[in-house]
Every structure is written in structure tokens, then in C-alpha cells.
């Protein structure tokens, strides 16, 4: 069973800049939570406060009721892959992992297991100076799994990965969560990057919470677009299935059961010119929620 995380009134000020402002939310155990927001929204600062790297100005971030520093063997509870972390270019990836493992009492055997799991056992014996971004990301994931933790905190893990790498990452996260029941908190500035992977979303902008909920509930969910000469008649014919008029005289039906919609139209004697599924437009919603709130985009002078 995964562990849960609770942020409560978390605030961080750097001089006059409030990077994170009274942020409160919970991450449910055993689920993948996407932590979203535009660049500069305070995601990294929030995650670094959770992991005891940055001192909160006020508020707390707790993992199963304890702060990171209070954990006995933190790597056995939480694994993290953060941005702005790296490997000494003159050290091999394997030796890098060994230095981390030694500090937390993890045997070298475990290092080799993880290099196998992430598919880089041969590369990891070369000096890290020549590693590609994808290699570094895999090494960072291997590092996060050293203590076989129940909670994974991943900061923009897809950044700089090629499409092949992103596909591998998705499969890997699904494996960790679905097969092993781990809790995953993954940050991203791109919703579409994580929308196929996450169960829940937390969206922040300018250090404050703007939306939190299950991925399925976000933006009202998917439905179907139907085009027919008399949309009002079709709406009546659909009975219990609700619908609403859409652009260009089409009807948006709150159901993805295309067969039931087609059958209802046929029974009512209505011709169907178009019938297709429409996904919730999460990207538009995400943009709407965070638009105009990104402090990094300055106003024109």
C-alpha cells in the first residue's frame, strides 16, 4: 500500500517573491497524482520543501504524518527524481548510485538490479560526462527506486526526453503504480504529457492552488458529437441521456455510447450526418485555469 502526502498551508518566500503561497492539498495513497502548472508556478519549490531541501517560510508538508527529515530511512519511504540534479561527469553512473546507496544503507546488489530494470547496465559503467538526457533521466529513476519506496516524487521526468523515451516512461510509471501499488506524485508543465498516466490532478499557478480533483472529472469528461437535421427532436429521443446544443447546429451528448445514440436516432427516424466521440478538451481548460496568472509572462510596457 502506498503512502499519502499532505501539504498544509505551505508557504515559501524568497525575498519579496512569494514562490508558494498557502498551498494545501493531499495526495491519495496508491494513486498517480499529476502536479501541474506553468513553468515558474512553484512546483519545484513545493516538491523541494516536501523533501526537506528547502525550508518552508510557514506551513508543513508531511509524508504519512512525518516530515522528510523525521523519516528514519527516507529512501525506503520516498524516492525522488528532481530537476537540477546531476551526476559528476568524471564518475560512472553506477558509482554515483553507489555513493547514494552507501549513505542510506542500501547494498550495491540493489544498484545493479535497478540498472537492469531501467535498461542501462552497460552504460552505467561509463563515466557520466557522455550521457544523453534520456540516460540521465533513467539513471535518476533508478536512483529514486534505490530504497524500494512506496512513494515516488518525480519532477518533470519527461523533460528533454524523445518520444520513445516518453513512451518508455509512461509504461514504467504504469508498471510501478498499477502492478506495485506505489503512490506517485509527478509534476509537469504540460497536461497532455501526463493525462494518460495520472488518476488525479492538482493544478497550481503562481504558487496557489487553482484546481484539484480526479482526472475523469476534470472538464466534465468526454461525450459525443451528433449532427442531424433536427437536434431538438434527437435530444427528446435520447430520453434519460442528457445533451446540449453545440456549435454549428450540432448536439453534444453527455455519453460516449455511440451505439445507443445511433439506435435512438434510427428509432426516431432521424438521419445521422455525423456521430463521433469527443474527448474533454483538457488543454483548453488547463490554459484557461492558468492563463493570465503566469507571473513569468510579463505585461507589455
Amino acid at each position: 500500500m502506498g503512502v499519502g502526502v499532505e501539504f498544509s498551508g505551505l508557504t515559501k518566500r524568497f525575498g519579496s517573491l512569494t514562490a508558494v503561497d498557502e498551498l494545501s492539498f493531499a495526495v491519495a495513497p496508491g494513486r498517480v497524482t499529476g502536479f501541474l502548472g506553468p513553468n515558474g508556478a512553484g512546483k519545484t519549490t513545493t516538491l523541494r520543501m516536501l523533501l526537506g531541501l528547502v525550508r518552508p517560510t510557514s506551513g508543513t508538508a508531511r509524508i504519512d504524518g512525518r516530515t522528510y527529515v523525521e523519516l528514519d530511512r527516507p529512501l525506503d519511504v520516498v524516492g525522488a527524481a528532481l530537476e537540477a540534479t546531476d551526476v559528476h561527469p568524471g564518475r560512472t553512473g553506477r558509482d554515483h548510485l553507489r555513493t547514494i546507496a552507501a549513505a542510506s544503507g542500501v547494498p550495491d546488489r540493489r544498484v545493479d538490479e535497478l540498472l537492469e530494470l531501467t535498461g542501462i547496465p552497460a552504460f552505467a559503467r561509463k563515466r557520466a560526462g557522455g550521457y544523453s538526457t534520456g540516460m540521465r533521466q533513467r539513471l535518476a529513476l533508478a536512483q529514486s527506486l534505490l530504497g524500494d519506496p512506496q512513494l515516488l516524487v518525480l519532477d518533470e521526468p519527461a523533460n528533454g526526453l524523445d518520444p520513445e523515451g516518453i513512451r518508455w516512461l509512461r509504461g514504467f510509471l504504469r508498471h510501478l503504480c498499477a502492478d506495485q501499488g506505489k503512490t506517485v506524485l509527478v509534476s509537469s508543465h504540460l497536461l497532455q504529457e501526463v493525462e494518460q498516466t495520472v488518476d488525479d490532478v492538482v493544478i497550481i499557478a503562481n504558487g496557489t492552488l487553482v484546481k484539484q480533483g480526479a482526472m475523469a472529472d476534470l472538464g466534465g469528461g468526454a461525450g459525443a458529437i451528433v449532427r442531424t437535421p433536427d437536434p431538438a427532436a434527437l435530444a427528446r429521443a435520447l430520453g434519460d441521456i442528457t445533451s446540449e446544443p453545440d456549435a454549428d447546429g450540432a448536439l453534444f451528448v453527455h455519453s460516449t455510447d455511440l451505439r445507443a445514440i445511433g439506435d435512438a436516432a434510427h428509432a426516431a427516424g432521424l438521419p445521422v450526418w455525423e456521430l463521433r466521440r469527443r474527448e474533454a478538451d483538457l488543454e483548453a481548460l488547463f490554459f484557461e485555469l492558468t492563463e493570465g496568472r503566469n507571473r513569468n509572462v510579463g505585461e507589455a510596457v
Binding site: 523541494r48 531541501l53 528547502v54 527529515v69 527516507p74 551526476v87 542510506s104
Partner: protein, 273 residues
């Protein structure tokens, strides 16, 4: 307690998994051997012995048999302690430069434990290099002294000096650790640290010695002077005031504690972003 063992092991691994360590090994050995040869020949030359006998006129160093033996065996030490300073700076500076400090503090979030691990690992590494330095300097130095007809081991005090030279190296590594934290840019820390220890501090010492008060009460406590006191080498001039070996050790210990302590206090409060 197991946390500290892990921290020390981790720091030793960090040191021995890059190429720095064997470069330093060669440097420290060569440095000990080469300077022992040069100083061994110089201090047993007739000119030196003549001046040494009549009070050290002409700017030649002054010392008895013990001090001459000590000087020969620790001749490379003032370069070796600069190398240890470099190791100290790099042990933390490389973590900032290559951004591994995040991983370090994730593996062990109790920062005092991490820093104590670094201190213990550095002292151990420096002592080991001290031994290597001695192998080089005693081997070459004893042969040189013997060949020149000077006593190679005039007294047991020489053994004390040899042991203390390892302590000196450890303390200089800790000064480096402090500098590496207080100047987080590793390149700047190395340039400023080595520049200050190699040139600025000795020149400052000379300036201070211009006044009687400075010569009596300030100069002996400077790190380089304290170092010479610990290992009891021949003096640069007969007027120099020297602390006793243990006085020098305490002075140097205070410098190491001040630099490393200030650095550690800073790390404990630092945001790692």
C-alpha cells in the same frame, strides 16, 4: 550512529570514484620526495652550516640537527597542504558544481550527519596522503642526509614531527572544506583558497612581522606559521617567534574549526534549489 557510518562510507566513495585521487597520490608522493632532495642538499651545504653556526646572517634559515631533519622530511608539506586544501574544497565544491548535493541530502536529510561524514572522511584521506608524502620524503630525505654526513634521525622528536605532519594535512583539508562552502563557486573557491594560502597569507605574515608587536603576537598564530611550529622546522630568520608544537597545533586546529564550522553552519540553513 549507522547513519554516520553510511555518511563516511559515501564520502569516501565519492572521493575514490573520480580520477582526482590518484592524481593527488602521485602529486603528494612526488612533492615529498622532490622537496626532501632539494632541501636536504641545500641545508647540508657548507654555506648553510657556516651561517647557521654564527646566528643566521645572510637570510639563510636557522636550525639545529633536529630542525634540519624535520625541515627535510616536511619540505614538501607546504605544497602538500595546499593539495589537501584543494581536496577539501572539491569534496563539497564538486557537489555544488555538478549538482549532486540534492542527492546527498535526499539520502541523508540530517545535514549535521552529512557534514560530520565529510569531516571524518577528509581527515582520514588527508592522513593517508600524509603517509604517502612521508614515504616519499623520508626515503629520499634520509638517503640525502646520510650521504651528506648529517644525522638522518637525530632524535625521537623527528618521529613526532612525522606523525604531526599527517594531522597538519587533515586540518588544512578542513580549512578547504570551509572555503568550499563559503565560496559556492568551486573554481572561485579553488583560486581564492589556494591564492590566499600560498601567496596572500605568507606575504601578510611578512608585513605583520615588520612591527615588533606583530612579530611577537600576531604572526605566530597565522596558519602557515602555526603549521611550521607544529612540525618544528628550521626558522626563516633568527628573530622569528615560534609557538611550541602543541601551541601551533591548537592555533591550526582553531583555524580549521573556524573555517569548517562557519561553512557547516551555513550548510545547515541553506535552501538547496
Amino acid at each position: 550512529m549507522s547513519g554516520l557510518t553510511g555518511a563516511v562510507r559515501s564520502e569516501l566513495l565519492k572521493f575514490f570514484t573520480t580520477r582526482l585521487w590518484w592524481g593527488m597520490l602521485i602529486g603528494v608522493f612526488a612533492c615529498g620526495a622532490a622537496f626532501a632532495l632539494i632541501i636536504g642538499l641545500l641545508y647540508t651545504s657548507e654555506k648553510f652550516l657556516e651561517q647557521s653556526g654564527n646566528g643566521g646572517f645572510g637570510g639563510a634559515p636557522v636550525g639545529d640537527d633536529v630542525q634540519i631533519a624535520n625541515s627535510v622530511y616536511t619540505a614538501g608539506l607546504s605544497i602538500s597542504y595546499l593539495l589537501m586544501l584543494v581536496i577539501g574544497v572539491i569534496q563539497i565544491g564538486a557537489e555544488y558544481r555538478h549538482r549532486t548535493v540534492t542527492s546527498t541530502f535526499l539520502a541523508q536529510p540530517r545535514r549535521p550527519v552529512v557534514m560530520l561524514g565529510k569531516v571524518l572522511a577528509l581527515v582520514a584521506v588527508a592522513a593517508a596522503y600524509g603517509l604517502v608524502n612521508l614515504v616519499g620524503s623520508v626515503l629520499v630525505g634520509a638517503i640525502t642526509l646520510h650521504a651528506r654526513g648529517a644525522p638522518a634521525f637525530p632524535s625521537a622528536q623527528v618521529v613526532r614531527t612525522l606523525a604531526l605532519s599527517m594531522l597538519v594535512l587533515g586540518l588544512w583539508a578542513l580549512i578547504g572544506l570551509g572555503i568550499g562552502i563559503l565560496i559556492p563557486n568551486q573554481v572561485a573557491a579553488l583560486l581564492i583558497g589556494v591564492g590566499a594560502a600560498w601567496l596572500v597569507e605568507p606575504l601578510l605574515g611578512l608585513a605583520i612581522k615588520a612591527s615588533d608587536f606583530g612579530q611577537q603576537h600576531i604572526a605566530p598564530y597565522l596558519p602557515s606559521e602555526a603549521t611550521q611550529a607544529v612540525i618544528n622546522t628550521a626558522k626563516a630568520s633568527a628573530d622569528d617567534v615560534r609557538l611550541s608544537w602543541w601551541g601551533g597545533a591548537i592555533a591550526l586546529l582553531c583555524w580549521a574549526a573556524a573555517f569548517a564550522g562557519a561553512g557547516i553552519v551555513r550548510v545547515l540553513r541553506q535552501d538547496i534549489t
